[in-house]
């Protein structure tokens, strides 16, 4: 999710990283989302590697994603959310 609130999605695959979706620009949140064949969200996290948030920001990273998808009409089940934390202390 970019600094202007826009969010970009790229399919997972070899050689595909978040920097591709962001154009290597700064972001306010990043992570992964998986949909099942019925279009329901089955996984949602803040796992991003190169855009790893600070430890205190990790939950906010997720919430920004929940908010962005929520505004787009896509609800995220609580049970599919994983917080991978932030950088090492």
């Amino acid at each position: 999710m970019g600094e202007n609130g826009q969010f970009s999605i790229v399919p997972a695959g070899p050689g595909i990283h978040h920097t591709i979706a962001s154009g290597d620009e700064k972001v306010t949140a990043a992570g992964q989302i998986t949909f099942n064949s019925q279009g329901a969200v089955t996984m949602f996290d803040n796992f991003t590697g190169h855009y790893t948030p600070c430890t205190e920001c990790a939950a906010t990273f997720i919430q920004r994603g929940v908010d962005a998808f929520g505004l787009a009409g896509i609800r995220i089940p609580r049970r599919v959310i994983t917080d991978y934390g932030g950088k090492a202390p």
Binding site: Q63, G70, A88
Partner: protein
Amino acid sequence: MAAQAGLPELRSVPLADLPEWVGSRFPEGAPPQWWLSVFESIEIGVSPFQKVAPDQRKEDFELGATAVTVAVDRGDISPSLGAYWLLRLAAMALRINPPVNKLPEVLTPDGSAEWALEHLSLSREQAVADARGRRAEYDAADDDFYAPVGVESQPADFQPDHQFSALHEVEMILGALPWVSSKVTDPRISAEVQEWLDTRALL
């Protein structure tokens, strides 16, 4: 937010010393996010779009294989995530032409697929049963089933759910197996991969 793992620094560590090097840097355990940045840096380094000497690319693939297995052995990442990354790197290796000489076994199509099959967290029957249960929960979902929008959140709000996580980890591997499955040569491994890919349609 910027990259936090430098490939040149990792390249300077002898592979046999990597567990000790990581242990001294992260005595409490290396964060999964750090490992992901390492894997991504390595994947970028071995990309066919990078103009690097074949020996350097081969060494980076060896570093990738070692890094993933060390991360799993230390318990820093789940075996399923390790399997996913071995499959990613194996898929990347398939794009290199001429092929990488003497690729680590776990980065060959057969080796990566077999490693992944050995580290699936559920049996096929359990995965199908769990998926059935998950569908029932989605069908019965009320507003509380979903994370609230527009609230302040704390880390405690996002605790892992082991039942859903186990199924997702299986799905993560099944999503990656097709990247190498057509190149698997061992009939036993190939047949098991196909059985799992057939199961994927039921999840």
